[in-house]
Amino acid sequence: MKQIFDAIVVGAGPAGCACSFTMAKAGLKTLLVERGKFPGAKNMWGGVFYGPTLNQLFPSFWQEAPVERYIKRHRLSLLTKDASLSAEFTAKKFGKVPYNGFSLFRAKFDRWFAAKAEQAGAILASGLQADDLLWDGNRVAGIKAGGDELPSSAVIACDGVNSFLSEKAGLRDKLSPRDMKQGVKEVIHLPRNLIELRFNLSGEEGIAWEFIGSFTRGIPGGAFIYTNKESLSIGVVVQLSTLAENKIEANDLLEEFKQHSEVATYLAGGKLLEYSAHLIPVAGSAMMPALYTDGFLVAGDAAAFTLTTGLTLEGANFAIASGLAAAETVIRSKQIGDFSQKSLSYYPELLKKSFVLKDLKTFKKAPHFLENPRIYSLYPEIACDLAEKIFTNDGKPRRKIWKLLRKSMERKISFWQVFRDLKKIKKAL
């Protein structure tokens, strides 16, 4: 039974599944190791998944993959304690194939994706945890798992944000809380017709609704509501270090958010189905580990391939794209019979050509900019205050908006400071 694999992929998430699928399809002897009882078992992700990369791999994947709703509407709201200001975007295009994004549950989606890899010929070993790397001198030569040594020509670590293997491979230090956000999420059941009525949706349409404002108490971060078929995913994502410094619990912020009058009406009558928490790597290129060494590659969250632009937080499509690039690299290495560091340097070359490293480079300054606390409390306040002044009819003569804005900003912030922040936005976003 014992054998030597061409590649062992650790972690059956989007990166690992895409990588295993591609290598197995090319005829490589591929082992996909997943520590959960089944792929997706350890996953709490319920967000918006952007489809183009997967669509290249499996055209019209939404017809067979377990997706919940396609995202027809994007809404952003600024919240203060007792007001809110919203902007919404919707386009006909988002309601047509190939849909732009989907809400989905990774617990189901990952199982589907891993089954695809299995059908392509990869061996899926669920319920198996990679405990360590197997070394041959300075070369990674496999993994140790379940008390056994499993040798392979290449190991691809797709083991998520806390990537234990890339730490073992010496590619990165322990992560700092400043580089992470904590996400807490609830799934709340609501009947289908109620979801459609409340959010102005029909059929399989869905909404991705992001919030920033007072409920995070100035901590960099925000909240979201995504519609699933018969439930809502609702959560807050906040910077871990500031949370810890201020001794604030993320779930308290979520409670506060849920009780906001603007939010509560959408949740009324809902039944809590599950609660979960997760870390999200957000520092972008700043926290990226070295991506390869002899016989070893890192992909997905493990490589911190997550894009934060403030309005969106994307990881799954970056994971898939990096998994594909890792697969291509290993397939090439197999052809030339060379899995050395030099041969694997093809991997960053591919990533540089794809959107993965390009996007991360474009938004390199975003994570730092997004630490600015003014974005999360002061600016929403000023915006809501201005809107209130514009819309309030108090029987007095109206004033020009420009004057109202000056009034709203009075004693809060100088125009000079706003100008400096705007300049930073231009650089970062």
Binding site: F38, L124, S126, G127, G146, D148, E149, K271, L273, E274
Partner: protein, 266 residues
């Protein structure tokens, strides 16, 4: 020693209560969406006991399970632990079988497997806790039976079975072959090894149907069940909090007593 272990799939006991749903109409548990079933933990301990015997005496372990093709993941778990072969027995006609029918189907399958020295079952299944199937298999096959075993050994061509009783043990000897149901005192089942999981994942699990085991269809399915489930329900529990505020404690006490009497609590 060749051993047959009967294992059952049950809904994962670790699921959150919110995922547990009953369909009152059909009087069934709705399988939680997206969470695959697991092997009944008592059966996992039966597999463990079989493996201990195999470690000591060699032989072959065959795992039998009723269900659908998806149930093969349960059989594969046993293979990953170290069992040699897994067989899924499935047929539409088996659906809604009671314990007698299930034991009948398993008995037929055991006959088809043929050579065996010992049949092991878990003491009960952690979903309905009836603990009947093992005993009925013994009856069907005309074999000796020991229930609630903690350990099994071989001595002088017979099986020596240590049975758990309150505050102590009974030790029986029984001729081979026999049926033994396994108690949780066996201890923790072993974790599958790396190569165990990998080889199990590559193995094909044969699926036997009603014809393969020559089962008499009048003895299986809902129509063969002699008892009828008329109601399956979780009692409704309501929690309410009422704060009684009155000028004085005495007034509040009287009001409290009145309220409790009205609610039928005292």
């Amino acid at each position: 020693m060749d051993i047959i272990v009967c294992v059952k799939q049950i809904p994962d006991p670790e699921i959150p209560p919110s995922k547990f749903k009953l369909d009152i109409e059909s009087k069934k548990v709705v399988p939680p969406e997206g969470i695959p079933p697991v092997m009944n933990p008592y059966d996992e301990q039966a597999v463990e006991l079989a493996l201990r015997l195999k470690d000591k005496y060699g032989g072959k372990i065959t795992v039998l399970t009723l269900g659908s093709e998806a149930t093969s993941s349960i059989a594969k778990h046993a293979l990953a632990m170290g069992a040699d072969e897994g067989i899924v027995i499935t047929n539409k006609a088996f659906e809604d079988s009671d314990s007698f029918s299930k034991a009948y189907i398993l008995s037929q399958a055991i006959k088809k497997v043929g050579d065996y020295d010992l049949v092991l079952c878990g003491r009960q299944a952690a979903d309905w806790d009836e603990g009947l199937v093992g005993s009925i298999i013994a009856e069907n096959l005309g074999l000796p039976l020991v229930t609630l075993a903690e350990a099994v050994d071989v001595a002088n061509g017979k099986l020596k079975v240590k049975r758990v009783i309150l505050d102590g043990y009974q030790v029986f000897t029984v001729p081979i072959p026999a049926v033994v149901t396994v108690s949780n005192e066996v201890g923790r089942p072993r974790l599958p090894s790396g190569w165990g999981i990998i080889s199990a994942s590559q193995k094909q699990i044969p699926v036997w149907s009603v014809d393969d085991i020559e089962a008499d269809s009048s003895k299986t399915g809902a129509s063969a069940a002699r008892r009828k489930l008329v109601k399956l329900f979780i009692p409704e529990r309501e929690r309410k909090c009422e704060i009684i505020e009155r000028e004085t404690t005495a007034e509040a006490s009287i009001e409290l007593v009145d309220t409790l009497i009205k609610a039928g609590a005292i």
